[in-house]
């Protein structure tokens, strides 16, 4: 089933559900309205209004009202009528860049003369500004299993009690988040990060837009992003830091408006257009003109030179970054440390396989956080900073849980840096959150010295699990090696065909499955001859190359002004509201300082 078909079925299903519970709904849901039903809009937040009609309609009969008034009277301008949308034999009304300033529930009705669709939007205001700064740390795919494994491996545990807590454990406010999207219970990092940065639910692969029905990925109805709002309203600084490609979904959610997260060359330009004061991560290939070897652009734009021309200090190594951040004159920093995703902690600092040795001067995420805080603090109006530990997810997909857990520890060390900054100042809201989860669990240990011929007999569960014997001789919080004789047994619940080797992949990231000539993913034979390896038949469709995301709730922790709003179960879009409230983005007269 295509995503479009699915969306229309869902629209119909939602309308049916609404009718059956007597909540709302006009006639048949012939029209699709964006923003969607039950959307929450921050007062003054810009958005595009779009109505998609089911067929070609008479423009004289196509009408959109808000609370019974003509939309043009309410929004200040009239929507454009499109008789036939490109590639679609149907009409639409489109009105870009509008906002609503009246808090409360608003009923939007769209009719083609014969059928009518009704949606309700809630426009909300905020109290006065409480926080000068907001830092949101996103552990991509971070799940409770990662967290537990990280605590065991980083802090140690004996007789049931840990020797210490993680930095993310020790924060005063906590909530469970629902991460589902418009089109699916299970979402991706684009849509889930978009929920945080816009306050709107959207669809898999979408950033800064609702997913409309036209093929063009760059024409979908937009919603304004928090970074755009704080720059426009309060002249605040914005920072975007990730160890993934900067064009990847999570960092892109701070700047991008596209239906398709794969529009990486365009996303690079959107990042440039936002002019964030700090932009640091991987993905240099999309900032270079196509004539340069290593570029992944299809044009001659040289964004590195464009950043330089705008007064950015450009860093390509940890030393460049530290020197630039230390210079009190640096107020704009563009750091790019890898052509694609940066390397994770285990590879970069411990195992050093050839691919990580190729880029020996990459900074660590905690160092990047420190540099970002130094530079952003120079803006007197405060800042919003997103820091992503993007590789937790990138390693969880190929079932490489050890690398994912080392990067969970790295996220925790990054949190320590941010907490220290926030505790010292008392004016910074800090949120640490996953964007979605994986089906990962700590279920016991594997003991090479246990009896048994087969490796599965060496798996200890319940009282036979005992405790692992990781060593952290240098006391840096990371086990010196993941390859110890008694190690955690961690399972990921969904997978393609693969060979289970029962041990960490010391020579490079796990590649569980490879594609065969029919396009199916089959177990990667490279692991077949690992002593004790067994074939595991996949439990996902054969088109799946890796493990997938879970719809399980995400666990968010927070501290600082505004964090008291965080409790219980929340929707991911509520995280945007928490940040907007802390910064007073919907206050009657937004103050530039708390």
């Amino acid at each position: 089933m295509t995503a479009k078909t699915l969306r229309h079925l869902l629209t119909a299903a939602c309308a049916a559900a609404a009718l059956s519970t007597g909540l709302s709904a006009g006639g048949a849901a012939a029209q699709t309205v964006y923003p969607i039903d039950r959307a929450d809009l921050l007062v003054g937040q810009k958005f595009d209004l779009k109505v998609e009609f089911a067929g070609v309609v008479d423009p004289a009969k196509a009408k959109v009202t808000i609370d019974g008034k003509d939309h043009a009277a309410v929004l200040g301008k009239a929507a454009t009528f499109i008789e036939k949308e490109e590639g679609v034999n149907a009409s639409a009304l489109l009105l870009r860049d509008v906002a609503l300033n009246m808090p409360g529930r608003h009923t939007v009705t769209a009719t083609d003369g014969s059928s009518t669709a009704t949606v309700t939007w809630t426009v909300y205001a905020t109290g006065p500004r409480k926080a000068k700064n907001v830092v949101i740390l996103i552990g991509d795919g971070l799940s409770v299993g990662h967290r537990t494994a990280a605590r065991i491996m980083s802090k140690g545990i004996k007789e049931g009690k840990y020797f210490g807590k993680l930095a993310i454990d020790d924060m005063p406010h906590m909530a469970l988040l629902g991460t589902s999207g418009v089109d699916s219970i299970v979402t991706d990092s684009a849509n889930s990060a978009h929920a945080y940065t816009t306050g709107h639910k959207s669809s898999v692969n979408a950033l800064g837009v609702y997913a409309d029905r036209t093929r063009n990925s760059l024409d979908d109805p937009k919603v304004e992003i928090i970074s755009e709002i704080v720059k426009r309203k309060l002249n605040m600084a914005v920072g975007i830091v990730s160890d993934a490609e900067l064009q990847d979904a999570t960092p892109a959610s701070m700047a991008a408006h596209t239906r398709r997260r794969a529009d990486k060359a365009e996303i690079a330009e959107m990042l440039y257009a936002l002019k964030p004061e700090v932009l640091m991560g991987g993905g240099s290939a999309y900032f270079l003109p196509q004539s340069v070897a290593g570029s992944k652009r299809k044009d001659e734009k040289n964004l590195v030179e464009m950043f330089k021309a705008d007064g950015y200090k450009v860093a390509t190594t940890a030393a460049d970054m530290t020197a630039a951040a230390r210079d009190p004159k640096t107020t704009r920093l563009f750091g790019v440390y890898h052509p694609s995703n940066m390397d994770g902690h285990l590879d970069r600092a411990i195992l050093k396989p050839d691919y990580a040795r190729k880029y020996p001067n990459q900074p660590d995420l905690p160092e990047m956080a420190k540099a970002a805080l130094d530079v952003l603090s120079r803006n007197p109006n405060g800042f919003v900073l997103m820091i992503e530990a993007g590789l937790i997810d990138k390693y969880s997909h190929p079932l490489d849980w050890e690398r994912a857990v080392y990067d969970t520890i790295m996220l925790d060390k990054t949190t320590e840096v941010v907490k220290e900054f926030a505790s010292r100042r008392g004016d910074t809201l800090v949120i640490v959150t996953p964007d979605h989860t994986h089906a990962i669990s700590v279920v016991g240990t594997v003991d090479d010295n246990a009896k048994g011929e087969e490796m599965r007999e060496k798996v200890g569960v319940y009282e036979k699990a005992g405790y692992p014997n990781y060593v952290d001789a240098d006391r840096d919080g990371y086990p010196d090696s993941p390859d110890v004789s008694k190690r955690l047994y961690v399972t990921i619940g969904d997978y393609p065909d693969h060979y289970e080797t029962w041990r960490p992949k010391m020579e490079g990231t796990f590649v569980p499955a490879v594609k065969d000539k029919d396009g199916n993913y089959v177990a990667n034979e490279a692991y077949k001859s690992v002593p004790g390896a067994v074939f595991v038949a996949g439990n996902l469709p054969r088109e799946a190359s890796d493990g997938v995301h879970a719809a399980d709730d995400a666990l968010l922790t927070a501290m600082g002004p505004g964090s008291e709003q965080i409790h219980g179960f929340m929707e991911n879009v509520d995280v945007f509201k928490v940040m907007a409230n802390a910064l007073g983005l919907g206050a009657r007269s937004p103050r530039k300082q708390p």
């Binding site: 240099s284 070897a293 990667n524 034979e525 692991y527 001859s529």
Partner: protein, 151 residues
Amino acid sequence: MIGRRAVLGGLAVPLLAALPAGGAGAAEGARLRFDDLYVGDGILGMEFSPRTKELAGRRVTMRGYMAPPLKAEASFFVLTRNPVDLCPFCNSDADWPVDIVVVYPGREAEFVRNSVPIDVSGTLQVGPYRDPASGFHSRLRLTDAAFRALN
């Protein structure tokens, strides 16, 4: 321990396009390694190495992995340093590693499982080129190529 780049044993992979006579691993022309292709760290771009430039237009042999199946009508395949588990035309083609080499076999090629290393011999073409049929962009190519699986 065996890793992702390990040589495999016991796989029934047919010899596909015969290389000139010689023992297993026989090579035609100079051996060119992925590590030799470029100089520069790649963060702000890479340049062709002196060795790559010197071998341009000559027969060379490279060892790598055949990327997963291309569209049936494609007249080339992509040689990568490491096995890749992505589908070239499902993802954006920008998702390719930066140091790929496009191979135009001298005769019809059969797919070799992506975890099996192959030796490819062909004439090295250096410089940007857009495949007219697919629009696929490449910087390095091996033309009139023959290859064999190492198993």
